[in-house]
């Protein structure tokens, strides 16, 4: 990724969003029953990963000598009241200001303007858009306007208004950019804030819609004008796997746009699926998983990785794997084998067991044994609403417990399905003696 020789009319900018500075990784278990803990160096690296990612964005801006930086909301979690996050953000922006690069910032649902904020002065080159109306600001080079950026911040957490309607391209703007934190087309897995449709955006006549809120990278309208989510610069939980980063956008004199992705995440989440089929002993299983993880790491260029392993398939080892202690020992052993240096770790977060016994549960469910009846009931529970309700009631002792319930939610249908699958495996383990 070399530098670009820009003509007098061309411009380059970086589009990033959802920094969530200083917010912590979710879904990571510190300890296992075997007694192992995530080493402090790994934890420290994880804690600082959002800052590192932001610094990587700033470095990119300075190295590429871009014209401006766009940050499309959720810079940090205001709810967490992290002063550190706001100061580090200021420090990054100061570095940009020193390099003469202006930055345009909107706040999103996580760092909305009603939230607490420290009295920190940002450099003059930074413009934070108002939460009352759409503002527009020019980008100047040599006293000449080369682009105009419009944007609006969130006044509170939940914005249900379609903010796209408030945007209008200014007259005579050579390259018009819109900066907005929103959900286009009701993308699942994200709250539907500032909801809008792709058409709403298209008809506004902007050259580039710099969006935030959705953590997966997406260019919604490749044919142009460009509507893009850069995704988050650092994955924050097990489902945000793979490379994360920001978009480097080049605009030619004729306003032709090319978008280039730049990875910025210092730590990657990865998920690896390993089948136990044909694996006859613990050592082979260990070595297989280790080999797969190390290959992943090589593919990731040796960057630190937090990995989850999904064991699936049908095999002899299933009988061991359904025992909690066995799976925990497996995790512990793998952690001992994998590198754990601060700069270069491969941390195994967990091993999820979704294996099946050598026995075919489907076949078993057809038999007139007790286990057969058990497995038939599980099948029925997947479709029978009443049975589901009855089974959910059995979980109420935990879910509705006044203290535990604060941290737990009732399993949805998918989660219940997984629990039933686990229950089936447990029953097979407890009751099935093999073909006798």
């Amino acid at each position: 990724m070399g530098g670009y020789a820009l003509g007098s009319g061309s411009l380059t900018f970086v589009h990033a969003a959802d920094l969530h500075l200083d917010s912590q990784f979710k879904g990571l278990e510190r300890t296992v029953a075997g007694g192992g803990e995530i080493p402090e160096n790994v934890l420290r690296r994880l804690r600082n990963s959002s800052f590192e990612a932001f610094n990587n964005i700033v470095d990119l801006c300075i190295n590429k000598k871009i014209d401006f930086l766009l940050l499309a909301g959720d810079i940090y979690d205001v709810a967490d009241k992290s002063l550190r996050a706001q100061l580090r953000f200021r420090d990054g922006l100061v570095r940009l200001a020193d390099a003469g690069i202006p930055a345009f910032v909107v706040h999103g649902n996580h760092d909305h303007c009603a939230g607490w904020r420290a009295e920190i002065k940002l450099p003059e080159t930074v413009h934070v858009f108002s939460d009352r109306e759409v503002e527009s600001r020019p980008v100047l080079r040599g006293g000449r306007e080369i682009a105009g950026v419009s944007g609006i911040s969130y006044p509170g957490r939940a914005v249900v208004e379609n903010y796209a309607g408030r945007f209008a391209r200014g007259a005579g703007v050579p390259f018009a950019v819109a900066l907005l934190h929103c959900n286009v087309g009701g993308i699942k897995g994200h709250e539907n804030y500032a909801p809008c449709g792709l058409d709403d955006l298209m008809q506004k006549g902007f050259d580039y819609w710099a969006l935030g809120h959705v953590h997966n990278r997406a260019v919604l309208n490749p044919a142009g004008p460009c509507v893009a989510y850069p995704g988050c610069p650092q994955g924050r939980h097990p489902r945000e796997t793979g490379e994360k980063g920001c978009l480097l956008v080049h605009v030619t004199e004729n306003n032709n746009i090319s978008v280039e992705f730049f990875p910025t995440a210092p730590v990657r989440w990865e998920s690896v699926a390993v089948s136990i089929e044909g694996i006859a002993d613990d050592l082979t299983l260990l070595e297989t998983i280790e080999d797969r993880l190390l290959r992943f790491r090589t593919a990731a260029g040796g960057k630190p990785i937090v990995a989850r392993v999904l064991l699936n398939g049908r095999g002899f080892l299933h009988r061991n794997l359904v025992r909690v202690s066995y799976a925990e020992n497996l995790v512990q052993e793998l952690r001992n084998r994998l590198p754990a240096e601060e700069e270069d770790f491969l941390w195994l977060d967990s091993v999820r067991v979704a294996t099946s016994a050598e026995v075919d549960k489907n076949e078993l469910s057809g038999t007139d044994t007790l286990l057969g009846d058990f497995l038939s009931l599980i099948k029925e529970a997947r479709v029978d609403r009443d049975l589901k309700t009855e089974l959910r009631k059995t979980l109420s002792a935990l879910i509705e417990h006044p203290r535990a319930g604060r941290y737990l939610t009732e399993p949805d249908d998918d989660e219940l399905g997984e629990l039933l699958e686990s229950a089936g495996d447990l029953a097979v383990d407890l009751l099935w003696d093999g073909e006798e």
Binding site: L391, A423, L431, D433
Partner: protein, 1074 residues
């Protein structure tokens, strides 16, 4: 198959109890009797008939009222054919005999396989025959084959696995979470989470102080700036005052030095260290003059000592000869000591030689000794002869010994042969009765023995068959006579006429009495007549049926008679064939056509003896032949050894002649044997050796004497040359020592004189050098004085003082000026300082300095305090800006939530598993019960009046039964009343009996309905009625109400009354409710 007949000959209190076929032909037969009527004994009798009198743990039912132990049971199959099972006392279990339809016989195995179909006593007691206590014995249901039917294997689980599995799930659930617990994993995590949240809340409050802290810090920094400025001014003034105080002394001394320099004589230059150099030159010159005088005195002393030293020069010239004689003196002393010893040795060696040569005999001298060859080849030749002689003698001796040994051995062998021949001649063989080979006779004896046994068996069978034929004929005659007397008409023919006539008379009489009574009598008469006629006709029909059955029996008997006759004919034919065979065998064996058993035994014994005698004769012949062969071989060996002895004698004679020739050739005495020749050689060699030793000792003694005399001659010559007298052999050695001492002394004197002369030369040279050095020193002193501008040393020293003092004062001035410059510091400050020094006194400066130092201290304290306050604030701000604590706590919280969710998933999976297991168990129990429990469920409903609808064996248990009410409630056996439990057990056992469909046994119930109330008893009767359609039921009871309930609820059951072991009445049709 059903039980058709029971006959007890003797068993406990029962004797000759016969339950006949017509008494047992109903589906249900009730055997009714009070206590001790023999019901249970009858049940035990049936068990004993089927499984033996004494089974393990059981008892023997000895007949108490006579009769032989045992009896029989008769079973009827579906085709009406009868199987009779009879058991009599023999062995522990008794001996069973099964008689099949058609007369064939079967044994215990037949009974077990075909009648009992393999069921065990345990199964019989559980399913087919039990009393109320046995019925209630639940644990027996758990045993072996019965258990499989009741509890089933259909769960697909091993025993206890479900219980263990659910226990494990419960344990794991409890380990994970308890609603009010603190130890389980989830409870611990909740506690940790709450702690983490509290910490986060606390930390989140801190950043709000950030702005205030920063403002405070800024204000404090401004205050500190002002204080520091004031402090800087005070410090400047303090530095100036300190400079004035420090510079004042230097300034005063500078002024003084400048004044002294102005008053001093100016000497512009002077030699470097001139005064010291002059003094050093003068000191050196004085030292040299003194040393020169000492050297001169020493030289004179040395010259005098040389002149006084005298040396013997002749001794020095012959010093080499004196040393050589001194060196040889030890050797000379040794020679003088050896001379007498050597003379004695010469004498001894001469005597030894003479002794050796005289041993060989006269005429031997040195020349003759040299001519005798005692070399190694000659000795080896002699050794060869010696070995040959020795071998020849050995050979002759060995052959001689072997001849003696063989002669003795041949004598022994001959004695053995003669004994064997005598024994053979004495052995006798008995004569055979018939001239046939023993093998033929033995075979004929075998045929005779077997044949006679078979003949006896055939004759016994023949007799038994004839007896049976007679019996059958008798039965036939009985049946025919019974048939003949069986009249088709029960009423006599005359009754048809007499009864109407009598009735007519009565009617007529009645009419005679009145019309109404006449008609009434007429009606009654007609009715009576009709009744009698109808009864007669019904009885005739019964008679007809009986006749048909008798005819059928008669036909069967006739068939049996024909069969028996044919069997007798076959047996008679086999008897005659066998008799012929035996006759031929008797001729072969004993020579007569007829042989009785004793003859056969005697013939068998004689044959055995004959065979033994023949075998013994054969053995004796073999032994005699072997003894003869051994004797011949021994004699042949003896002749061979005699020849060897002769050859050995010849060889020895030839060797002796050869040895004499060899001695002659060498000129040796002929009397020598090979051993003697070797000793002769040794003696010759010893004589030569002693001659040589004598000659050597003579030469040594001569040489020693000559050397001693030469030594004495050399010494006397030396003494003469050095001026001493000659000496003798005895004093010569002493004089060599004396000469050596004189020489040593002379050499010492000569050395001393040489050393003194060398020292004298060195002193003279030293004196010359000292005079030259003194002259040079005087020249240097003159040059130095000229350089200092002086002629005399005193003048020179005065000028030196002026020069050095001027130089010192100039240095001081320079030093003080430099001090002032350093103290003043900057260029502008020097003038300021000098003004200060000029204008003030030292005491003023010091007072002001104290005041200003106090002021500075105060300012410093205030600056430090402010700085500390700023530091504290900065620390707080820094912590807020960079503190990771909040991030750490948030991270911890997220990880705890993740862990909690993980554990919650584990808990939920287990909770679901447990719940689903419960549901699956219920479903399994309801829908997949074994056939036995399904049938039992069908029985228990009617039996309990619908109180219970289902019998259930809980999944995973093989020891518990439960019943279920129509609304789904379950009750375990333990929770049932005695009556309800009995109904449950009866249902189960009846269902089990249905399960054993192939076993042809009735179900025998020994008063099992005693716990049933009236209502349930009716239900049970109904169930038993239904059940008995499939399988015969015998019910023993002593309860009248039970009998009544059967009477009310059931059509057509049989009833046998027992009293004191005896039937008291047969009422087969009593209970028909027509």
């Amino acid at each position: 198959m059903r039980l058709a007949e029971v006959m007890v000959d003797g068993f406990g209190i029962l004797r000759d109890l016969h339950l006949r076929r017509e008494e047992l032909d109903k589906n249900i037969t009730i055997i009714y009797g009070m206590n001790e009527a023999g019901k249970s004994t009858l049940m035990e009798f049936i068990r004993a008939m089927l499984f033996g009198f004494k089974v393990k743990g059981g008892r023997v039912w000895e007949p108490l009222r006579g009769g032989s132990l045992g009896g029989f049971l008769v079973f009827a199959d579906e085709n009406g054919e009868y199987y009779r099972v009879e058991r009599r006392m023999r062995g522990r279990r008794g001996k069973v005999a099964v008689t099949l339809p058609g007369g064939a016989a079967g044994d215990e195995a037949f009974l077990a396989d075909r009648v009992l179909r393999g069921i065990t006593p345990l199964v019989f007691r559980n399913v087919f025959g039990f009393d109320v206590e046995e019925m209630r014995r639940l644990e027996e249901l758990g045993a072996g084959e019965v258990s499989a039917h009741v509890y089933g294997a259909g769960t697909g689980l091993r025993a206890g696995r479900l219980t263990a599995g659910t226990s494990r799930l419960r344990e794991e659930l409890n380990d994970l979470f308890k609603p009010a617990g603190t130890k389980p994993a989830i409870n611990k995590l909740i506690k940790e989470l709450e702690n983490a949240e509290a910490a986060v809340r606390l930390l989140q409050k801190e950043p709000e102080q950030y702005g205030r802290l920063r403002r405070e810090a800024m204000s404090l920094r401004a205050d500190r700036e002002k204080l520091e400025s004031a402090k800087r001014d005070a410090e400047l003034r303090k530095r100036r005052l300190e400079a004035a105080v420090r510079a004042r002394e230097s300034w005063l001394r500078l002024k003084e030095a400048r004044q002294q320099l102005g008053e001093l004589l100016h000497v512009p230059s002077f030699p470097e260290s001139g005064v010291e150099r002059l003094q050093a030159l003068e000191d050196k010159a004085r030292d040299l003059v003194l040393a020169r005088a000492d050297t001169h005195q020493l030289a004179d002393d040395l010259q005098r000592r040389v002149d006084n030293t005298v040396v013997n020069e002749q001794l020095l010239e012959r010093s080499a000869e004196i040393k050589a004689l001194g060196n040889e003196r030890g050797l000379q002393l040794e020679r003088l000591r050896l001379l007498p010893e050597q003379a004695a040795e010469v004498k001894h060696a001469g005597e030894e030689y003479n002794k050796q040569i005289s041993k060989l005999g006269n005429g031997y001298d040195q020349t003759k000794l040299a001519s005798i060859d005692t070399s190694l080849p000659a000795r080896e030749t002699v050794e060869g002869y010696k070995l040959k002689f020795s071998a020849g003698e050995n050979r002759r001796e060995t052959a001689g010994r072997e001849v003696v040994r063989l002669k003795i051995s041949a004598g022994e062998k001959e004695w053995i042969f003669r004994n064997a021949a005598a024994e053979l001649a004495a052995h006798k063989i008995p004569l055979p009765p018939v001239d046939r080979p023993p093998a033929d006779r033995e075979q004929a004896l075998d045929v005779l023995e077997n044949g006679m046994r078979r003949l006896l068996q055939i004759r016994a069978g023949l007799e038994s068959s004839r007896f049976r034929l007679v019996e059958l004929e008798q039965q036939k005659r009985n049946t025919e006579s019974e048939l003949a007397i069986l009249s088709p008409r029960l009423l006599p023919p005359w009754l048809h006429f007499v009864l109407p006539a009598v009735l007519a008379v009565f009617i007529a009489a009645a009419f005679y009495g009145g019309m109404i009574s006449g008609f009434l009598t007429l009606a009654a008469g007609v009715a009576l007549w009709a009744t009698v006629m109808l009864a007669g006709r019904r009885a005739a029909a019964i008679m007809e049926a009986r006749r048909a059955r008798l005819e059928e029996i008669l036909l069967n008997i006739k068939q049996c008679v024909a069969g028996a006759a044919e069997e007798i004919e076959q047996l008679a034919r086999r008897e005659s064939e066998l008799a012929e065979e035996l006759k031929a065998a008797a001729v072969t064996a004993v020579g007569r056509p007829v042989a009785v058993e004793e003859e056969i035994i005697a013939a068998r014994r004689a044959l055995e003896e004959e065979k033994l005698a023949l075998a013994r004769a054969e053995d004796l012949r073999r032994v005699a032949a072997q003894a003869k062969n051994t004797l011949d071989a021994e004699l042949q060996r003896l002749s061979g050894v005699n020849k060897e002895l002769e050859q050995a004698d010849r060889a020895l004679a030839s060797l002796g002649a050869e040895w004499l020739d060899w001695l002659k050739e060498r000129g040796l005495p002929r009397s020598l044997t090979p051993s003697g020749a070797l000793a002769y050689f040794d003696a010759c060699e010893e004589a030569v050796k002693s001659h040589n030793a004598w000659q050597k000792s003579l030469a040594r003694e001569r040489e020693t004497r000559q050397q001693s005399e030469a030594f004495l001659a050399r010494l006397n010559n030396l003494l003469a040359n050095t001026g001493y007298d000659a000496v003798t052999m005895e004093t010569a050695c002493g004089w060599t020592i004396r000469l050596e001492e004189l020489l040593s002394e002379t050499v010492k004197q000569a050395d001393e004189r040489g050393r003194l002369q060398a020292e004298l030369v060195k002193r003279r040279e030293q004196k010359m050098r000292q005079e030259n050095a003194l002259n040079i020193l005087y020249e240097e002193i003159e040059a130095l004085l000229a350089a200092g501008g002086a002629v005399e040393p005193e003048d020179f020293r005065r000028r030196a003082y002026y020069y050095s003092e001027g130089k010192r004062l100039a240095g001081e001035i320079q030093t003080f000026e430099r001090d002032l410059k350093i103290i003043a510091g900057l260029y502008g400050e020097r003038a300021q300082l000098e003004r200060e020094l000029e204008q003030t006194e030292g005491t003023d400066n010091e007072r002001e300095l104290e005041q200003i130092a106090f002021l500075i201290g105060e300012l410093e304290d205030r600056v430090r305090e402010t700085g500390e306050q700023i530091g504290r604030l900065d620390n707080q701000i820094n912590l807020l800006e960079n503190g990771e604590e909040l991030a750490v706590r948030l991270q911890e919280k997220e990880m705890l939530i993740a862990a909690l969710q993980g554990k919650a998933r584990e808990w939920q999976a287990r909770a679901l598993c447990l719940h689903l297991l419960k549901m699956a168990k219920e479903r399994h129990e309801r829908e997949r019960q074994p056939a036995v429990l399904q049938r039992a469920s069908g029985y228990i409903g009617p039996m309990t009046g619908g109180a219970y609808a289902m019998v259930i064996a809980p999944v995973g248990r093989a020891d518990i039964l439960e019943v279920e009410t129509p609304d789904g409630g379950r009750v375990a056996v333990a929770g049932l009343s005695r009556g309800a439990a009995s109904q449950l057990y009866l249902s189960i056992r009846l269902a089990l009996a249905r399960q054993y469909g192939s076993v042809g046994l009735p179900v025998i119930l020994d008063d099992i309905l005693v716990d049933f109330d009236r209502e349930r008893l009716r239900g049970a009767v109904k169930v038993l009625g239904e059940f008995s359609r499939e399988r015969q039921v015998l019910l023993f009871t002593c309860h009248e109400h039970i009998l009544e309930t059967f009477n009310e609820g059931l059509d057509g059951f049989g009833l046998i009354r027992l009293r004191d072991g005896v039937k008291s009445g047969i009422l087969p049709h009593l209970c028909s409710r027509t």
